[in-house]
């Protein structure tokens, strides 16, 4: 269980009313990682879904930083939704990285229960795709 107030400050959960926030908060955990710790790992599957609440993390492929993640950013959903192994490491880059965590198997039921979350996640994914296309183009 996490503090519903923490969730209320994250754009992913911004559309939920207070009782729904409490229900979602009850199925999430929070996690703290020291600098350098890996949160998810390239080559593994079955890992969890994370939303950063404080601190920063780096997306690394073969040890090279490809993107920087900040409070409000989420990760881990691609491997959960596709069933493929994770394509990158996510590594804590600040003295403390704090995240809320959802077990992988709980992600789809949560999105089905709260479609507004699914729309918010889809919007963010679309923006990421747009940005990736711009870079590669």
């Amino acid at each position: 269980m996490v503090d519903p107030g923490t969730l209320a400050r994250l754009s992913l959960f911004a559309s939920l009313a207070a009782p729904q926030l409490e229900a979602v908060a009850a199925v999430l955990d929070d996690a703290s990682f020291p600098r350098g710790a890996r949160v998810i790992r390239e080559g593994l599957d079955g890992e969890a879904f994370y939303v950063i609440t404080a601190g920063e993390a780096a997306v690394q492929i073969d040890g090279q930083e490809r993107a920087r993640l900040r409070p409000g950013d989420f990760f881990g959903e691609v491997s959960i939704l596709t069933g493929d192994v994770t394509g990158a490491d996510v590594v804590a880059e600040t003295e403390e990285l704090r995240c809320v965590v959802l077990a992988g198997g709980e992600l789809v039921p949560l999105l089905l229960a709260y479609p507004a979350l699914a729309v918010q996640m889809l919007t963010t994914s679309a923006r990421r795709l747009q940005s990736a296309n711009l870079w590669s183009g």
């Binding site: 409490e22 020291p34 079955g46 890992e47």
Partner: protein, 491 residues
């Protein structure tokens, strides 16, 4: 050696252990076996920790089967006995089931305490009872000082086996006026009364189960629904299902999914306002009693000021895979608080570190890690490369650590110069850089199937292979040995 003498008093030690519950006793036993200088202090007067007081309604949730497919002095028997502490000496094993009267497959807390007291006595674990840890500081040389009711204990590493036993209340307006689970009265005093229990986890349902024969009406409420299909396959069903059955047939118990907005005293009782979650809508209850079964926190005293970061709304310390604070070096935890080392949460399965069956293995890993930190060379058994598949297959089929801590503890081997690395946290194995290695875990998938998983670390790259389940879990059979051989030999 000072650490092995009886009731070691204030002074300088390599390690100081705080607590005489199962986590403290198991850690002390393992340190003693390794010959590490240490002292154990406890505010209590006798061993047993939280089981001296809780669960309130007497019976544990975790089972011990006095008769099982394996003999009680075997390591395999540990699967069937989730409550005894671990020992190398057969005569110190399986001490909890020896106390059980066999009226049920889970022990009473009195049987649990008797088993652990027998362990502490027979293993000769020296504990300074009645010695309360009161404050902590760090010396300029990095050593920790534990100020206690009997004087100062200095150490290179402190192990806090202090349980997760301090009442914690969720932030609901008015909840501070409500008794906590820990303050629950005699069951008979709830006779004929309406009782509202806040919390639908273990302690909430324990109260509902215990008060079912007494209360006129029981409401058990929290925002998230109870998932009966998950509970049905877990040991906690012992407590949950009777109140749930009463709720399902409309028998006076209500299991409510609601966010509680306020609790107001009315003179006679309480008025509770809530918002439904699964089924939206405002709800108002007039009730005679309210009990906050909202959980517990580790009694960390001043450790946060020493730099110990916490998770779970401040309730447990954030820990490394070897149970050290992620932010305060030398501050270690044992027992229930080792749930603060979350591991990889493989397929969403959490560790069993919050229960004796899981944390007893963590204590052994912690003691070995402390020995290494204190400068002992870890001895690794060299193994012929051709023997590796059988070693891993046997671990998968019979290692109680891997079965009790699924997806969390692994049996690891080195591949460069073939060696047995023993049982290690899986997270440590996958994040250790450098040498090539393989590790196996027993895991659970989302459908509840138990299967072996093989992790390979080669040239800094990770790979996971899931092997098929087996109807008899015979993971030491020929097909598994063949698969393991291919995996450890493949480039």
């Amino acid at each position: 050696m000072v650490g092995l003498s009886r009731e070691p008093g204030p002074g300088d030690y390599d390690v100081v252990v705080v607590g005489s519950g199962p986590g403290g006793l198991q850690t002390a036993y393992c340190l003693q076996r390794l010959g590490i200088e240490h002292a154990v202090i406890s505010a209590d007067e006798a061993p047993g920790g939280m089981f001296r007081s809780w669960p309130i309604f007497g019976r544990l949730l975790s089972w011990s089967k006095p008769d099982a497919p394996y003999e009680p002095e075997s390591r395999e028997y540990e699967w069937h006995d989730h409550n005894s502490l671990l020992a190398d000496e057969p005569e110190l094993r399986a001490l909890v089931p020896q106390q059980m009267d066999r009226s049920y497959a889970v022990p009473t807390r009195e049987e649990m305490v008797a088993g652990h007291t027998a362990f502490a006595t027979r293993a000769g674990i020296a504990v300074r009872y009645g010695c309360r840890w009161e404050a902590t500081r760090r010396e300029p040389d990095g050593r920790l000082v534990l100020e206690t009711s009997e004087g100062e204990y200095r150490c290179r590493a402190a192990v806090f086996a202090i349980g997760v036993t301090q009442p914690w209340r969720s932030p609901i307006p008015g909840i501070e006026a409500v008794p906590h689970y820990a303050d629950t009265r005699e069951a008979a005093s709830y006779g004929g009364r309406r009782v509202f229990v806040i919390g639908k986890r273990n302690s909430g349902f324990e109260l509902a189960d215990g008060l079912l024969p007494w209360a006129r009406q029981l409401v058990v409420a929290s925002p998230s629904p109870v998932r009966a299909e998950v509970l049905a396959l877990s040991t906690v069903r012992v407590r949950y299902f009777q109140p749930l059955e009463d709720a399902v047939v409309g028998g006076g118990t209500i299991a409510l999914d609601a966010a509680i907005e306020s609790i107001e005293p009315t003179g006679e009782g309480f008025r509770i306002r809530a918002q439904g979650t699964t089924q939206p809508g405002e709800l108002v209850f007039e009730t005679d009693d309210v009990i906050a079964a909202t959980g517990f926190r580790a009694p960390l005293l001043d450790l946060p000021q020493l730099g110990v970061v916490t998770v779970a709304q401040g309730r447990v310390p954030a820990l490394t895979p070897f149970f050290e604070s992620t932010s305060a070096p030398g501050v270690f935890f044992a027992g229930n608080a080792t749930q603060g080392a979350a591991g990889l949460r493989r397929d969403g399965v959490v560790s069993t570190s919050a229960a004796v069956q899981g944390f007893r293995y963590n204590a052994r890993i912690l003691a070995e890690h402390l020995a290494e930190r204190l400068g002992r060379r870890r001895t690794r058994a060299q193994v012929e490369r051709s023997e590796l598949p059988l070693l891993l297959a046997n671990a998968l089929a019979r290692s109680p650590e891997l079965w009790a801590q699924k997806g969390y503890l692994a049996r690891a081997v080195s591949l460069d110069e073939p060696a047995d690395e023993g049982v290690v946290p899986l997270e440590h194995f996958v994040d250790e850089r450098g040498t090539d290695g393989a590790a196996v875990t027993v895991e659970l998938d989302r459908e509840g199937r138990i299967f072996p998983a093989v992790y390979l670390r080669r040239g800094g790259r990770l790979r996971i292979e899931r092997l098929d389940p087996h109807p008899l879990h015979a993971f030491d059979g020929e097909p598994y040995r063949r698969s393991l051989a291919q995996l450890v030999e493949s480039g």
